[in-house]
């Protein structure tokens, strides 16, 4: 019984990672860049919802919608100002700029909102599901997160495969220069990718902080890194991979701290990640890379 209960906890932690990893993998898949600032966009989303809900006292839905709009704008702005000028530069240069943006967001948030932790009120009002006479509890947050993750995953897949914009995203990710020749506006496509990625970050922030309601200027950083790991786990660039990677990461983290050692659970998670990559060098659902001579 306790195993099942740990498993459920792992899945609920993992579903939050999945949600964040979706945004990571989306941006990586198309723009081929590790957007280290993704976690910090989540933090910004968290503050927006927090302010709307606790200060203005509006409905949580309004908060989430506003966060989605503002985070999308923020994502587009970041892309426009910091990443677009480096489109032709090496991917390392963009990586470092992303880190710069991450520091910037953290420090701006620190100056605006102060260093005190804020307690986030859950946007999800669903009661917890109690099974087996209360021995197994599934929180309302988990009940919402997992289906939402699935819906977003399917929607993204359909969007990418069926719409014109989506297909041009695939084209850009396959070959930027060739897609220019095909009449695709690369800049616009990448901007849309960032907009979607940031909107996903806003949704993720609502779910992350509803499950773990502690909000400070650095609280996006660690979930961001973990989600990045999850995205790699599942095969970065693959949308279903991000979901599977996230859930697996959560389950492994919970089970290892439950059955092996709570002190060493981080090390165990990363160790398993290395093992997985040794067996499947491009992650669980990653595409096999063919090298051209």
């Amino acid at each position: 019984m306790s195993f099942i209960s740990y498993l459920i906890k792992g899945i609920s932690l993992g579903s939050v990672y999945s949600m964040i990893a979706l945004g990571y993998t989306m941006v990586y898949g198309i723009a081929k860049m590790l957007n280290f600032a993704h976690g910090d966009v989540i933090m910004v989303g968290g503050y927006i919802i927090f302010i709307v809900m606790s200060v203005s006292g509006l409905n949580p839905i309004v908060g989430v919608l506003l966060a989605i709009i503002l985070c999308t704008l923020l994502g587009i702005t970041i892309e426009r100002v910091a990443y677009k000028p480096l489109r032709k530069a090496s991917s390392l240069a963009v990586l470092i700029t992303a880190i710069g943006v991450s520091y910037l967001l953290q420090n701006v948030a620190l100056l605006i909102f102060g260093a005190d932790t804020k307690s986030f009120s859950s946007v999800i009002k669903l009661p917890a599901l109690k099974l087996a006479g209360g021995a197994l509890t599934i929180s309302g947050e988990t009940l919402v997160t997992i289906p939402l993750c699935l819906i977003i995953m399917v929607a993204l897949n359909i969007f990418i495969k069926k719409t014109k914009t989506g297909r041009s995203m695939i084209a850009v990710s396959e070959d930027k220069d060739a897609s220019v020749l095909m009449g695709i506006n690369v800049n616009k496509t990448i901007a849309i990718t960032f907009a979607i990625g940031s909107a996903l970050a806003a949704v993720a922030s609502a779910l992350l902080f509803s499950s773990y309601p502690s909000l400070s200027s650095t609280s996006g950083a660690m979930p961001g890194i973990k989600a990045f790991v999850a995205a790699v786990f599942g095969g970065i660039g693959s949308i279903p991979g991000a979901m599977i990677g996230g859930i697996l990461l959560g389950v492994i983290q919970i089970l290892s701290s439950a059955y092996i050692s709570s002190q060493l659970s981080d090390a165990i998670v990363f160790f398993i990640l290395i093992l997985v990559l040794l067996v499947k060098p491009t992650g669980i659902l990653g595409k096999v890379m063919h090298e051209k001579v």
């Binding site: 060493l264 981080d266 990363f270 990559l277 040794l278 890379m289």
Partner: protein, 369 residues
């Protein structure tokens, strides 16, 4: 100056760099002796050296081998703890500081190299970002394990536990040396500016010589086209491992310098986590990937920058982030590159350089002849 020109290009460059480092060393010494150097600057001299070492050693992996590593701080961490551990253990038995510190340095480098080799083997099959994530994972594993590691010593020998200090069951008079999250405290502060500069020169020459050797060319061939390199008979495994091992060993040396410079050694996300690895990567990228001297300059500038921004108080790290972004864009944006070509620094600085040239080339020439 003519004799200098007659030498081959890499030797000439090496002599110039050596000259510059020595001139800086002498200037610093004179300033210190005259009491004209601020305390802050005096305290920063050793860190500048080990950050430079870290930057050039990572440049070997990133710039020369062409693999992105996000776990360089992990090797530094291993070197730092190994070196400090040895020093703490033998503080009473080996009284000669040079021998003790020398062995600590060697041990730190060797241990880091072992792990570097290990990671090298693990990542042989991986490419690009997957390799990066494994190195990141490695760095986090090292940090996490060291935070849970307890090592004590008593008359029966070493006791190791991954639980807590009480589980070591030390005999009377035993001492806990590595104390979990508290790390190692009270390491003898053996790193001096002279030692640090010597190590910087040593590491610089090891890496520059490696790059200009047969092995170095083989490593760069792997970077430029792995399959082509393989087809001409370059042993990929061997050279990849070589680069990883040497890079890790150098980071280990930097770690030993670090742990013998400040007396309390703890593994926090700040000093040995991925944040630090990324910081070193920033040095490398800003200095120019594959440009060893550039790494040193970038490491120096980016270490000094936040210190000299202290007057900004709360806004310090904010401005630092902005500077970082602007520098990257200025360095890499095609429009900026074009602008720089049209407005060469040459022209702007020409007059300044001309004034200084007499003294600068005089110093270089003096060292070279």
């Amino acid at each position: 100056m003519t004799r200098l020109k007659a030498l081959n290009k890499s030797t000439r460059n090496n002599i110039i760099v050596l000259g510059i480092i020595l001139v800086i060393y002498v200037i610093c010494r004179i300033l210190m002796a005259a009491g004209a150097m601020s305390n802050l600057m005096q305290g920063l001299l050793v860190p500048l050296c080990y950050y430079s070492i870290l930057a050039i050693s990572l440049n070997l992996t990133v710039g020369i081998l062409g693999e992105l590593s996000l776990g360089h701080a992990g090797f530094m961490c291993i070197g730092a703890f190994m070196g400090a551990f040895f020093t703490k253990c033998t503080e009473n038995s080996i009284s000669n500081v040079f021998i003790r510190y020398g062995i600590a340095m060697l041990l730190g480098a060797v241990c880091a190299a072992l792990f570097g080799g290990l990671i090298g083997v693990v990542v042989l099959r991986l490419r690009g970002d997957y390799l990066a994530i494994v190195t990141l994972a490695f760095g986090e594993i090292v940090k996490n394990i060291i935070n849970a590691l307890y090592v004590g010593i008593d008359n029966k020998g070493l006791h190791i536990s991954l639980q807590d200090a009480a589980a070591l069951k030390l005999a009377e008079g035993g001492e806990v040396i590595v104390n979990g999250a508290k790390g190692i405290t009270g390491t003898s502060r053996d790193t001096t500016f002279t030692v640090a500069i010597l190590m910087l020169i040593l590491v610089y020459f090891i890496i520059v010589n490696l790059i200009n050797s047969r092995s170095g060319r083989a490593i760069m061939a792997i970077r430029d086209n792995r399959i082509a390199a393989e087809s001409v008979g370059i042993d990929i495994t061997r050279f990849k491992l070589l680069a990883f091992t040497i890079s890790a060993a150098m980071a280990g040396i930097a770690g030993v310098l670090y742990s013998h410079n400040i007396s309390s050694l703890v593994a926090t996300p700040k000093n040995f986590g991925y944040n630090m690895s990324i910081m070193i990567l920033v040095f490398v990228v800003l200095g120019g990937v594959g440009n060893i001297r550039g790494s040193i300059v970038a490491a120096v500038i980016l270490t000094l920058l936040p210190e000299y921004l202290r007057f900004l108080a709360d806004y310090r790290m904010l401005i630092y982030a902005v500077v970082l972004i602007v520098m990257m864009i200025f360095n890499w944006n095609p429009a900026c590159i074009a602008w720089r070509k049209n407005h060469p620094i040459k022209g702007v600085l020409q007059s300044v350089i001309k004034k200084k040239e007499g003294s600068a080339s005089g110093k270089e020439g003096g060292k070279a002849s």
